[in-house]
């Protein structure tokens, strides 16, 4: 059993996660990121279910959360297969690549201007290649080469 104040704070956290995921799934265009945002909404629902379950001392909410986990795993497997198939057909992970499926009265998504920055992409960390001899330096000939 948890006290009512903790229940309310946990419900607020669940609502926050749900709304953030909602904004993401409405705005983002990358299929994978949209899917991550849907999972974020599921996390918010899970927090809410567990909070009510602990407040009432009833196990139904936690059992339902276990099934949410199960269905999320199934959903991820099937949906990622479809995402991969969509990528194989269009070469893009863009939801707007499938806009020919829209209704007749809806406008096309047209990319008029792209932001200047970020075009190069993020800089990834690099690993030091192993097994490469460092260059010889004449000024350090006094260094011991072998022990």
């Amino acid at each position: 059993m948890i006290p009512a104040p903790l229940l309310i704070n946990a419900l607020l956290v669940g609502a926050g996660l749900f709304c953030l995921g909602l904004v993401g799934i409405l705005t983002r265009r990358n299929l994978i990121v949209m899917f991550l945002c849907a999972e974020l909404m599921l996390q918010g629902v899970s927090v809410t279910l567990v909070a009510w379950s602990r407040y009432h001392g009833d196990w139904g909410g936690q059992v339902l959360t276990v099934f949410v986990l199960t269905v999320a795993a199934c959903e991820a497997a099937v949906a990622l297969v479809f995402v991969l198939q969509a990528f194989a057909r269009t070469g893009r992970l863009d939801a707007a690549a499938w806009q020919s499926l829209r209704e007749e009265t809806l406008p096309r998504v047209i990319d008029r201007e792209l932001p200047e920055g970020d075009a190069a992409g993020p800089t990834w960390p690099t690993l030091t290649p192993a097994g490469v001899r460092p260059p010889e330096d004449a000024s350090h000939t006094l260094e011991r080469e072998h022990v």
């Binding site: 904004v23 991969l84 992970l93």
Partner: protein
């Protein structure tokens, strides 16, 4: 407290937090008119909105002194925001893992040990790794143009922030209302008091054991159905992949 209304300072604070959250989301979401300064302003506004919501939660729930809960929930919410606004999908997946860690902390604080651990193992260990594999298979080099623009960022940010404000207000009304006796689940303490259940010692593994007893006792049929669902999803995923490859090969031969 008047049960029908949120107290006035909390309402003002909530409105300010909602406005700041909407502005922060709009500034942080990928747009065509992005500058470093606007992103920094967005981060600042987001931090202010988080502080405002923490204060609202404190005035509604008054467990602000629970430092562990505040920390893990702040981790979950900040990482969730970063998942939504990050340009690179790989970084979005990593931020989502961080949000999962925060959610697992919240669940552990609430006393659901099994679900906290299962969130880490199943989500971060299995589902997220699957996401990263798909990103490795399907990510073009450099930053894709569709990662740098979003659909209707202002409308969506306002809608999300207003929805969060409405949910917070209805949760705030909850704080003054006790659940009616008809709708209350019989708690363990009530059952012990009425003599229908033997008292159990509150050990650490007790909660997990009782969740397992509930899952494999009352909900055994649902567990079997979930197992069948997992099997069907597995077979279906493999069938879609193999059939798609066959279609692609036949298309290549025809062309």
């Amino acid at each position: 407290m008047d049960p029908a209304t949120v107290p006035a300072p909390s309402g003002l604070l909530l409105a300010a937090s909602v406005a700041m959250l909407a502005a922060a989301l709009w500034l942080l979401l990928p747009k065509s008119s992005d500058t470093l300064a606007s992103r920094r302003l967005g981060i600042l506004l987001g931090a202010l909105a988080l502080v405002g919501f923490a204060a609202t939660g404190r005035s509604l729930g008054s467990v602000g002194e629970n430092g562990v809960f505040l920390t893990v929930s702040a981790v979950a919410l900040v990482s969730g925001l970063a998942t939504v606004v990050t340009r690179s999908p790989v970084y979005a997946a990593i931020w989502f893992a961080m949000a999962l860690a925060g959610v697992a902390g919240v669940l552990l604080t609430l006393g659901a040990q099994f679900l906290g651990v299962a969130t880490i193992v199943v989500y971060a260990g299995a589902i997220l790794v699957m996401f990263l594999f798909v990103l490795m298979l399907a990510q073009p080099s450099g930053m894709a143009p569709y990662d740098r623009v979003t659909n209707e960022p202002m409308l969506a940010a306002s809608a999300g922030a207003v929805l969060l404000g409405l949910l917070s207000m209805s949760i705030g009304r909850l704080s003054a209302i006790e659940p009616p006796a008809c709708c209350r689940m019989p708690s363990r303490a009530d059952a012990i008091a009425s003599g229908s259940a033997a008292p159990v010692s509150p050990e650490a593994g007790d909660e997990v054991a009782r969740l397992g007893a509930e899952l494999f006792g009352r909900h055994l049929f649902s567990v079997e159905v979930a197992g069948i669902l997992l099997l069907v999803a597995l077979v279906g995923a493999i069938a879609v992949v193999s059939r798609g490859e066959a279609a692609a090969e036949s298309g290549r031969e025809a062309a």
